[in-house]
C-alpha cells in the first residue's frame, strides 16, 4: 500500500500507524517520522520565537511529486507499505506538519526509505514554508543541510545506502 495525502486538516498518528501495520502483515519493522512546528526560527542564532508557519503548495503537482518520491524509494528499498501525509495552510507552534511511515521486512530498509522520503519531501516537492513570529515573517529557502541530506541518495549505487 502506498498512501499520499496533501491536506489542510490534522492527521491521527495512531490511526495511520494501525492502518499501515494492517496493510503490511509480513512487515518486521515500522519506522515513523513526524515533523512538528517548532517555536524557534530556522536560524539557530535567532532567539525570537515563531508563532506559526504558513505552508503553501502547488495543488496537483505536489501530490504527483510526492507519489514519485515514494515510488523511487520503493524501487530502491522494496518496502511493503508507506504513508505520507503533508499538511498545508496555517500551522501553529507544536502542530503536526508531516508524517512519513514505512513498513518493511527489514529495519535498515525501513529507516533508509523513511529518510529518503523525508529528504526529498524537503527538497523536491512543491511546498513552501513561511515562518511568522515576533520578528515578522520570512519564507524559508532550501537549506544547505537539506540539499546535502538529499544529495546522499544520488551517489553511485554502491554507496546509496546511508551508512
Amino acid at each position: 500500500m502506498i498512501k499520499v495525502e496533501i491536506q489542510h486538516g490534522d492527521f491521527d498518528v495512531s490511526a495511520e500507524y494501525r492502518a499501515l501495520c494492517d496493510s503490511a502483515p509480513n512487515a518486521g519493522a515500522i519506522v515513523t517520522f513526524v515533523g512538528l512546528v517548532r517555536d524557534f526560527y530556522d536560524n539557530p542564532d535567532d532567539e525570537e520565537s515563531i508563532d506559526h508557519i504558513e505552508l503553501t503548495h502547488y495543488d496537483g503537482m505536489t501530490e504527483s511529486l510526492c507519489q514519485q518520491i515514494v515510488g523511487e524509494a520503493h524501487a530502491q528499498y522494496q518496502f511493503d507499505s508507506a504513508t505520507v501525509i503533508h499538511r498545508v495552510g496555517k500551522l501553529y507552534s507544536g502542530e503536526q506538519i508531516v508524517l512519513v511511515a514505512v513498513a518493511s521486512r527489514h529495519r535498515d530498509k525501513a529507516f533508509a526509505a523513511a529518510q529518503f522520503i523525508m529528504d526529498y519531501l524537503k527538497t523536491r516537492a512543491t511546498l513552501w514554508k513561511k515562518e511568522v513570529g515576533s520578528r515578522g515573517s520570512k519564507w524559508i529557502g532550501l537549506k544547505d543541510k537539506d540539499a546535502h541530506a538529499a544529495e546522499r541518495w544520488t551517489r553511485a549505487p554502491s554507496t546509496q545506502k546511508p551508512i
Partner: protein, 83 residues
C-alpha cells in the same frame, strides 16, 4: 494564452498568484520572464532570474529554454521548503 503561476515569495513580489501571456511559436519560460519585465515589479524579475528558481510546465519540472505550447501552464518555483 499561457497561464503563469507564482508561488511563495514570488507571489508576494508579483502581487498576485497568476497572470497570463500571449502564446507565440518558439516561446520559452526564459522569454516569458523577459516579457514580464515591462509590467511587473523589478524585484520579481530579479527574483525570477535567481539561479535557484525552477520552472514547471503543466505541473512537470521543465527547463528554462524548453519550447512551450499554446495553453501551457507555466509555474515559477522558488526553492522548496517542505517537511
Amino acid at each position: 494564452m499561457i497561464k503563469l503561476l507564482f508561488f511563495a515569495q514570488l507571489s508576494e513580489l508579483a502581487g498576485c498568484d497568476s497572470t497570463e501571456a500571449e502564446f507565440q511559436n518558439g516561446l520559452t519560460p526564459r522569454m516569458l520572464v523577459d516579457q514580464l519585465e515591462s509590467d511587473m515589479p523589478a524585484e520579481l524579475i530579479e527574483a525570477l532570474r535567481f539561479d535557484a528558481v525552477m520552472v514547471s510546465v503543466n505541473k512537470v519540472m521543465a527547463g528554462w529554454d524548453d519550447t512551450l505550447s499554446a495553453d501551457d501552464e507555466v509555474a515559477f518555483l522558488p526553492p522548496f521548503s517542505g517537511g
